[in-house]
Symmetry: C2
Amino acid sequence: MKLLSSVQSFGGLQNQYEHVSATLNCTMQFSVFLPPQASDGHKVPVAYWLSGLTCTDQNFATKAGAQRVAAELGVAIVMPDTSPRGKGVPDDADKAYDFGLGAGFYVDATQTPWNAHYRMYSYIVEELPALLEANLPVSNKRAVFGHSMGGHGALTIALNNPGRYVSVSAFSPIVSPSQCPWGQKALGLYLGEDQAAWQRHDTVALIRAGAPQMPMLVDQGLADNFLAAQLKTELLEKALEETGYPAEIRYHPGYDHSYYFIATFIEDHLRFHARHLQ
Amino acid sequence: MKLLSSVQSFGGLQNQYEHVSATLNCTMQFSVFLPPQASDGHKVPVAYWLSGLTCTDQNFATKAGAQRVAAELGVAIVMPDTSPRGKGVPDDADKAYDFGLGAGFYVDATQTPWNAHYRMYSYIVEELPALLEANLPVSNKRAVFGHSMGGHGALTIALNNPGRYVSVSAFSPIVSPSQCPWGQKALGLYLGEDQAAWQRHDTVALIRAGAPQMPMLVDQGLADNFLAAQLKTELLEKALEETGYPAEIRYHPGYDHSYYFIATFIEDHLRFHARHLQ
């Protein structure tokens, strides 16, 4: 991995790297915030942030205001891109924002032509942590969180890999891609029309199928334009209630789907994860 | 003035407006953060943030992380654009980033063709506060701060109008445009080659000419690529020392010219201004 830039922030370092991903079969960029506690080579725990549709590794880095609290808590934050990129990586036929580039949905595609590159699930779960734990002062104590499509990614990845993550949280997640237009389009194209293959990438389905309990926090704005048609938080709420799964869902009147919402509550998420990471 | 968007942030509102500016002879956009304390129509004090080269009203709004502390302190933040905009507004002949659009330098141009629109000094000092104090729950207790070209704008505007601002601060300001390439180009084109007209838009010259004392804080990163050739903080430091002007200049090892630097220390600036605004 190659360091592209390194900028000081709250006594830590906001770094951007590039590497050739064997999983995604392309060159990828990602960002990492290393808190000051990592400066002497001391290994710090890591929270993996998964971004939403259209984002790159930069959105959370520049807009969430997370570095202040991460620096205080001694937690690194890893910010991957949201899809494979570059020459030869196919995109949505209409270049739509909700599929293809910027919209990997954190699954391993099984359908052509997507399966040659779109393997964000394995990239996030396996390749990236292995790379970082070998090359940076970060430990294998991991949390995962994200926003919208990335909230879906965080929840499904955590529920499928409870031994690899100590806690999970999400802002405005797509809680059941099987039951919303964004998810139906993406999972249909990446995984095929047989919905049996979708179930392990659907938070509500995983909870109903008896996913193991782990610390879970979800924040949802009530002025979010995507809540009714795409996010459908009530489906998760119902699944949690009916299975007795002890997650916390918080609704916030007046807040929308933007990074202004994320910035407002990111401190709570970082403190939540830090309690479990330490 | 017309409200373009309104997003909830830290219990307050991050708003963007549009209005026809008589001073600038064009339609302008600006952003305002209204803290929760303004929600019942109670008038809150205001800090005017002046941005640097290439910026619009959005950079500080999305990247500085200022809303959290402003919401706590009950201070509104006004974020103007950095130049006139739109059809008929002339730009730099080579569309360079350091003159014309995005580079108003907070002066009233006297030279053609710039003097038909480039009057950011009067816009910031007079038109915008009058508009906001008549239409929003903000008081006439004002502070002014900014970054780079906007740090220059904040310092010169405050020193020329001590009765209108209770305090001033700057990140990485151009302290003496008369003595650096950015400033020489801009002031030469906007104000003409007679440097006598530049002096009231040059912080170092104003201090040396006996500008009245007011609370002043300046932060400068020591890894800032523009420090040696453009910002030249040492000229301000020397002028302050030699005139006995009691401002605070803080140097920060490792910090660059970016919003990561601003975000790291913005809380200090807001608390500094709040002490004087209240």
